[in-house]
Symmetry: C2
Subunit: 301 residues, 2 copies
């Protein structure tokens, strides 16, 4: 089934204990689309400035990613982010942030994308997420990401968004902040009470917790990997594989959601093995399926 993503396209500079990658391609929708494309065609909506040095059509050439929603806005500058990771790669610091075109009007959803059934609203201001969602006619399953600044400063906007979507994919610290509760199971229940059907709480190298509003729960460790080069994009790659698998199967029952989370976990483990799209760009679907089986074996007793 059809899968739409709206999110950022960025020029990233990333420092990790393994090295530096300057002015590389980043952004939530870029990682999402690459990850999702292993499972499903992707409809891409995003905006860059005329300074964007990346040719997404070329970069996505061997993927089924429809760039009809990619706007190159005259007179605008592309979003830029620079960040550093420390020895403990679960923590990072933003060194600089230039919203540029992301602080302007959002891109338009092309008419031919308006019938999209599965939708991912990557992290941005909740009112923008709602505006983008409003351009899709009658989606079946909408997931969103958010972050601490919106929880702290735009909570009512965020809650209004949650009442309109089915699934929130959120980091553990942000889940605790949103729910005002330190226990993640309690936090998940409080977030579900805000009006969504499913919440996926990501815990970095400690895996994820998935809960729905019917009382089902799924706990999954991260795939254990020693070769973490750059964690940037792990969350969006997770979301991409998660929604890509849902769109591929056309289902969102809890059994399907569990497999989708497992695929998200595994694809994220490849994404962090290199800077920018190096990790996701160098693998085949067979490697993802192999690692999924390994993950199942690693947790079986």
């Amino acid at each position: 089934m059809s899968l739409l993503v709206t999110g950022s396209i960025g020029i990233d500079t990333v420092k990790t204990p393994h090295g530096v990658s300057e002015n590389c391609l980043g952004g939530s929708s870029v990682y999402f689309a690459m990850a999702a494309s292993f499972f499903s065609p992707v409809r891409f909506v995003g905006v860059v400035g005329t300074d964007c040095p990346f040719d997404l059509a070329e970069i996505f050439a061997d993927r089924d990613i429809d760039l009809a929603g990619l706007e190159v806005r005259a007179g605008s500058k592309t979003f830029r982010w620079a960040g550093s990771y420390f020895e403990d790669m679960d923590q990072r610091r933003t060194d600089s942030l230039e919203l540029n075109v992301l602080a302007e009007e959002p891109p338009r959803v092309p008419d031919k994308f308006k019938d999209s059934e599965f939708v991912f609203l990557a992290n941005t201001a909740p009112y923008l997420q709602r505006e983008l969602l409003g351009q899709v006619s009658n989606p079946r399953f909408v997931a969103a990401d958010t972050m601490n600044c919106w929880i702290e400063n735009n909570l009512e906007d965020l809650k209004a968004l949650l009442r309109k979507i089915q699934c929130l994919i959120i980091n553990a610290d942000e889940a605790k902040l949103l729910a005002r509760h330190h226990n993640l199971i309690n936090a998940a229940e409080k977030i579900l009470d805000m009006g969504i059907e499913v919440v996926v709480i990501k815990k970095g190298e400690s895996g994820s917790i998935t809960c729905n509003n019917e009382g089902d729960r799924f706990i999954l460790p991260a795939y254990p990997t020693t070769g973490v080069v750059d964690p940037t994009g792990a969350g969006d790659s997770f979301a991409g594989a998660f929604l890509g698998y849902l769109a591929q199967t056309g289902k969102a029952d809890f059994s399907t959601l569990k497999t989708a989370v497992a695929y998200g976990t595994v694809v994220a483990s490849f994404a962090i093995a290199g800077f920018s799209l190096e990790g996701l760009g160098s693998i085949k679907k067979e490697q993802i399926d192999k690692r999924l089986k390994e993950l199942r074996n690693l947790i079986s007793f």
Copy 2:
């Protein structure tokens, strides 16, 4: 098969967001023995002063715990610990510590315990752990715990211990400190290189990683619980159920170790549901088995 534990018996004062428990029974060997007794008879070795207000024979009356190794030392005072937990119950602060009798000669292993096959050396100075181990004739499987102060100040002693035992059960932060590596899989491998067969790295509410020196790995999330009252003793309860199950089966192959870790995880989730022994004292083996099945379901996909 026979299971011996050596460790502390303490008078604890614990503050958590859920309340305060003053001068309650604590200590590593106490939690360990209670947890292990669901699976196997336990041989108990420990020492208290004459000020100890607890009658362990009465407290353990309905358990198969042999107290022949419990010494009440005239003129000595019992170990005391006071600590506080914060909202995030994975972190705690030691408010006061009185080693008292633990700073004196260790207790003796009674002759009738010297043929013990499974042994747990709870956290104490590594040279004491070695001395206690030296009193056991020919154990089949010895596991030990340790902590940051021994890693920082008595590393060579600790490494000498590791060359004599089969299994180290250790917290994630301590594993990183011991291995001088931030990635837990790398840390596990470096610890295995120190001469042991199995390392179990505990990550609190994020579960555990178990690795052996044949390349086998097992990743397990914690059992998700909302009713965390007091995490004190979680690690020793984990170790108790882990070794209790091994002693019950008489095996230590990786398949058995995985089930043992799962039992450790589940029993720890009961231990933290109350202060002191409230959590472990109020459950039946059937509840443990039920929760083990639930854990298996929670991670299946």
